[in-house]
């Protein structure tokens, strides 16, 4: 894990809910003993909703991946193994054989990571490929579902497991990178996303 690309920290879940596109800086660290509270009680079908959202993301991940690398032009479509390989070293881990609580916590980290990076990709692509409207739309839709998923996971963790805080790591900062590196990093992350969202869907 490259230290410059990862900003570990403890982030209150409520703040995570207000995460926006392009939020790349770490949120303030709050007390570990902060009381877990949600504005509304979780719906009884929250796990079902989580599974449904995962399935939704899993169903669209490949299309998003294809749209992305197609919009970047050559050499991306023909060098996916080199440019879009899901070898993101600082990606939050996930253990499918863990308890539900553990899995929910790990999934929370992953979705937070992906959500933040998806915001950066969306912003970059609107500038780099202003005419790729379907890609922009797909990125926006995916980010929306992720926000809903994050909210449900938070609710579940808070209500059932009384987890008030989760350490969250953000994705790499693309602002200092050149255009080709941004394209490449986005493709790698989306490749990773496609891979990990399948694992998450299977795990729940």
């Amino acid at each position: 894990m490259a230290p410059s690309c990862l900003f570990p920290g403890v982030m209150p879940l409520l703040l995570v809910l207000h995460w926006k596109h392009g939020a790349v800086s770490p949120l303030p660290v709050t007390s570990v003993n902060a009381t877990c509270a949600t504005r509304h009680p979780c719906h009884s079908t929250v796990m079902s909703q989580i599974r449904s959202q995962l399935a939704q993301l899993n169903g669209s991940a490949n299309a998003l991946f294809i749209l992305y690398y197609t919009a970047q032009g050559e050499p991306f479509p023909n060098n996916l193994d080199k440019l879009c390989a899901p070898n993101v070293t600082d990606f939050p881990p996930f253990h499918a054989n863990g308890t539900e609580k553990t899995k929910l916590v790990e999934m929370y980290r992953i979705i937070a990571y992906l959500g933040a990076f998806l915001g950066n990709i969306t912003q970059d692509q609107k500038l780099l490929n202003p005419s790729a409207l379907s890609l922009h739309s797909k990125l926006g839709t995916t980010a929306d579902i992720m926000r809903g998923l994050l909210s449900n996971v938070h609710c579940r963790l808070c209500n059932k497991y009384h987890v008030a805080h989760v350490d969250v790591a953000y994705g790499p900062d693309t602002s200092g990178k050149d255009v080709f590196q941004k394209k490449k990093l986005g493709c790698q992350l989306l490749g990773k996303y496609k891979q990990v969202i399948g694992v998450l869907t299977q795990a729940f």
Binding site: G73, P75, K82, L128, N129, G176, K177, V179, F180, K183
Partner: protein, 973 residues
């Protein structure tokens, strides 16, 4: 001690002096080597920026030349050498930049520098310094990613050259691509490869990927941004509308902006040199500049366009009063609008007291500018239009500009103007057509609508005043509402004066007058043919009278329509010819022209009548032809009802096309090939009035086909259906002459026979009495044998013949009337005779019957007489008759006797039957009074013998005998 001190002082002074002089010499020969050389890198611009100083400059400033050497990879590999001349000031830090074609990240660069004083003021200082030490510089690659290809995110202009470098190992199979297109490269150094792109095109705003692969495995990539070349702003100008703000505009040309942070669109700045003010323009094609309150008179603007790669500038200098572009006039109105004049007022937004405005006014109709006026004003304007036409719609437009210096006119402001109506200025052009019918004149008055120019308003109605000239009567008024162009009048016989006027809302036009004479409508003039040309119908005529005021030619433009659309043309009294032309004239339509002469009394006299076609066409249809008088050698064709008036040209004749099996045509015909490749013999009839044609010299009992076409000067009517006809048999008429009378005769005879059938029957084949049904039997049966069917000779009682004298008067009625004896005046049956038959084959006496009806002819010839014949004499006589000679003799004798040897009337033979009752004269009484039984009875077959041979034969001895020819052995039971 003193000496020591002095000498010490002197020594010190000497040393000091030497030192001073020595120091001056050293200063004059200092090398002025550049010092403090630092080299920095601008990776984006690929610039090496050098900075150095020259210490201990002997003068305040010196003109120096710096020699610079740049090496790449190694100090020994000098890639560039050059001089930099400048004036160096004491303690000045010198700067100089060098642009590298190769991205600076790809190689370490080394720089050294030395100086030379080349100042003409100080020729003694003309020498070069030593080289500075080599300064090494290497571009820093940001980030932690491994980057192999440079430059990153390079921005260049379209058409420029760009070099990429790739930092790779030795002997690697490297290939680089620009948007999938292979770029050829070369090895620059041990592990550095370069790829040069010349004249790069603009591909897309989002940049183009450049990437390299080693052994076909992608290693790294970058993005090349190619922008359009920044253009110089065009049409840069500034103007003011209110002396408060200057509006500067220009055409920016192409947008050089690229997406992402490749390059933003070019931006523009406006700099005014006199005031030294500068303004960043918010828009890329215009900028506003506030005019200072002190009204700077002259402005010098420089407009600069700039992007990452280039700057472009244009300048303009102007006097403010020469750049006045007034706003469009406002409050444009009309007042006092009359039929021929109107006043226009308008305002101009205030320009203060700085300018006088020149306003341009245009008066236009729908298409053309009619009036143009220039008016100078300050703020408010007013202009009087005159010489306008009544009831006319105009468009007035106005614009203004600075009167002293016209920079730009304001926008046009358009306002419609409609003038008031006036009295119609011209009398109507009137014409008439007259029909005289049943003692009345049907006059149709036509007039041409006044043109808008003469109507001076909307014509509302037409007034018609009719006045009878022959006798004093009241005027008859009639008002016809517009837009009528004619009316019909029914007048009694006489002369009339008719006046027509047009009226609009203001007044009435001058009256147009025509006079209808008593004879109008009854003129008859022979029609002459004329030929039309492309220009129309040329016609000329002869003047009829001296006191004429002009001529009128009228015609119907739509000749075949019910509404003929009467047209007329007025001509002066000296005109005796004219050309009538009209777009309505169509080829193939006959037009009739009437030429009238107008008298001084305004009476029109028909003088000539013309008819013709603007262009003749071939007839469309052919006459309907009937074949008449068909004989064996000829027939006649007739087409009486062919309407030549409706044809599309003057019918000049007809052509009869005759098809037959004959191979050759007659001398008066021409063989012609028909469209169906058959031929016909064509006879030409050049007289259009001839509507019959005799086809002769034909073969009897042959088929002929004929077709008659008409032709005009333009051609012949199309070939239609041929009519078939077959000539008659040559002898048929002869047969008719014979058979017909014979048939008539036969019919007559038949009728006669039918009518006289009874008479003929009685004469030629009277009814043969059945001997078995004879009344004799009734007499016999009743007396002796009721079962007797055949009379026996024995039963017969011979009758006696008595000869009595009889008067002549009793003989004739018997023959002529045909009445039975019982009905005549003979009281007793006299024509029966009973002959005792003595035949060898038939034993016994027989009674022979001879029907008296077979003897009528003989009796009629007055030769018949019933003579009693003895039994013995009969066979002899029969034999005699059987001999042909005897028979002939007998006949001759009988004939001779019948010619008069036996005088009728002198002696008459009366047959008296023994069965007959002497007292009864009728038949019934006879039957009742025959009681004698008969032993046998034989009926002799009756044969018709001409000239009474069967009945009466004269014997050789001159005695009369009655002979019955019997067939031997033939008996009827």
């Amino acid at each position: 001690m003193a000496f020591f001190a002095v000498s010490q002082t002197a020594f010190l002074l000497a040393v000091l002096s030497w030192r001073i002089s020595q120091s001056e010499v050293l200063v004059e020969h200092l090398p002025l080597t550049p010092e403090s050389l630092t080299v920095s890198i601008n990776s984006t611009l690929q610039h090496l920026h050098l900075q150095w100083t020259v210490h201990e400059l002997p003068y305040q400033e010196l003109q120096m030349v710096f020699q610079i050497e740049i090496s790449r990879f190694e100090t020994s590999k000098v890639i560039w050498m050059g001089n930099y001349s400048t004036t160096v000031k004491r303690n000045q830090v010198l700067h100089w930049s060098w642009k590298s074609e190769l991205p600076l990240e790809c190689a370490t660069h080394f720089v050294r520098i030395k100086s030379t004083v080349e100042d003409a003021r100080f020729p003694e200082l003309r020498f070069s310094s030593n080289w500075s030490s080599w300064e090494e510089v290497h571009a820093h690659t940001p980030g932690h990613d491994i980057k192999l290809i440079f430059p990153r995110d390079k921005l260049v202009e379209e058409g420029s050259n760009v070099t990429f470098c790739y930092n790779a190992g030795i002997n690697q199979n490297l290939s680089c691509y620009l948007d999938s297109e292979l770029i050829h490269g070369e090895q620059l150094y041990s592990n550095i490869f370069t790829f040069k792109l010349n004249n790069v095109p603009f591909i897309r705003e989002a940049g183009t990927n450049v990437y390299c692969a080693v052994n076909y495995a992608l290693k790294d990539g970058t993005v090349l941004f190619v922008s359009k070349v920044l253009e110089e702003p065009k049409d840069f100008s500034c103007e003011t509308q209110d002396f408060k703000t200057l509006n500067c505009t220009w055409d920016p040309g192409v947008d050089t902006g690229l997406v992402f942070d490749g390059q933003p669109p070019q931006h523009y700045t406006l700099f005014e040199s006199f005031s030294g003010e500068k303004k960043f323009c918010e828009h890329n094609n215009q900028c506003s500049w506030e005019i200072s309150p002190d009204l700077q008179e002259t402005y010098n603007f420089t407009l600069t366009a700039e992007n990452y790669l280039r700057k472009r500038s244009v300048s303009t200098i102007f006097n403010l009063t020469h750049r006045v572009h007034p706003k469009a006039p406002s409050s444009v109105h009309f007042k006092n609008i009359g039929a021929t004049n109107a006043t226009m007022t308008w305002k101009i937004p205030a320009l203060g007291n700085y300018s006088t405005l020149l306003c341009q006014i245009e008066l236009r109709d729908k298409e053309n500018a009619l009036q143009e006026h220039n008016v100078s004003i300050k703020v408010n304007g007013e202009f009087l239009f005159s010489e306008l036409r009544p009831d006319t719609q105009y468009v007035v437009r106005i614009r203004c500009a600075n009167a002293k210096h016209v920079w730009k006119w304001s926008q046009w402001v358009t306002q419609p103007l409609v003038t008031a109506e006036a009295v119609p200025s011209k009398a109507l052009d009137v014409w008439r057509r007259v029909k005289s019918e049943k003692g009345l004149l049907h006059v149709t008055i036509f007039w041409k609508p006044l043109s808008k120019f003469h109507a001076n308003g909307k014509i509302l109605f037409y007034n018609i005043v009719t006045k009878q000239l022959d006798k004093k009567s009241e005027l008859k008024f009639q008002s016809i509402p517009a837009p009528a162009n004619g009316t019909e009048l029914t007048l009694n016989q006489g002369s009339y004066q008719i006046q027509v006027t047009a009226n609009n809302s203001v007044g009435t036009s001058l009256a147009s007058e025509i006079v209808i004479s008593r004879d109008s409508g009854n003129e008859e003039v022979e029609e002459e043919k004329i030929n039309g040309t492309k220009d129309g119908f040329h016609m000329s005529w002869k003047p009829q009278s001296r006191g004429r005021t002009g001529y009128v030619v009228d015609w119907c433009e739509h000749q075949r329509n019910l509404h003929c659309d009467l047209q007329w043309k007025n001509l002066g009294p000296n005109n005796t010819s004219t050309v009538i032309s009209s777009d309505a004239f169509k080829p193939g339509i006959r037009y009739n022209f009437r030429i009238y002469e107008l008298s001084t009394e305004k009476i029109a006299y028909l003088i000539e009548n013309r008819t013709g076609y603007i262009q003749e066409l071939a007839p469309l249809d052919s006459p309907e032809v009937k074949a008449l008088n068909l004989t064996s050698h000829s027939f006649t064709l007739s087409w009486k009802d062919y309407d030549t008036e409706a044809q599309r040209g003057f019918i000049q004749g007809y052509r009869v096309c005759l098809k037959s099996k004959a191979t050759q045509c007659h001398l008066d015909a021409v063989e012609e090939l028909l469209p169906d490749n058959s031929t016909c013999c064509k006879h030409d009839i050049s007289n259009p009035k001839q509507k019959t044609f005799l086809v002769e010299n034909l073969q009897p009992e042959s088929f002929y086909e004929f077709f008659v076409s008409s032709y005009t000067s333009a051609g012949e009517s199309p070939v239609g259906t041929f009519t078939k006809v077959m000539t008659q048999d040559e002898h048929s008429h002869m047969l008719m002459r014979i058979i017909l009378p014979m048939v008539l005769c036969v019919l007559l005879i038949a009728v006669m026979c039918y009518w006289k059938s009874q008479w003929v029957k009685e004469k030629c084949y009277p009814d043969i009495p059945d001997p078995y049904k004879s009344s004799i039997f009734s007499l016999i049966k009743s007396k002796e044998n009721p079962h007797l069917t055949i009379m026996n000779v024995k039963d017969c009682t011979p009758d006696a013949i008595e000869v009595v004298n009889k008067s002549e008067g009793t003989k004739t009625p018997f023959i002529g009337t045909g009445k039975t004896l019982t009905e005549s005046e003979f009281p007793k049956p006299a024509n029966f005779y009973l002959l005792p038959a003595q035949d060898s084959s038939v034993p016994g006496p027989c009674i022979s019957f001879v029907n008296h009806t077979y003897r009528e002819t003989a009796c009629d010839s007055s030769s018949c007489a019933h003579t009693p014949v003895t039994d013995t004499a009969l066979p002899c006589q029969l034999r005699l008759l059987a001999s042909p000679d005897n028979l002939q003799k007998t006949l001759e004798k009988t004939h001779r006797d019948s010619q008069g040897e036996i005088p009728a009337g002198e002696i008459s033979l009366n047959y008296v039957s023994q069965l007959a009752s002497p007292v009864s004269g009728d038949k019934d009484s006879l039957l009742i009074s025959s009681p004698v039984p008969v032993l046998c009875s034989e009926y002799k077959m009756q044969t018709v013998v001409p000239s009474c041979l069967d009945s009466t034969v004269l014997s050789d001895n001159g005695s009369l005998s009655s002979v019955t020819l019997l067939g031997q052995g033939k008996h009827y039971n």
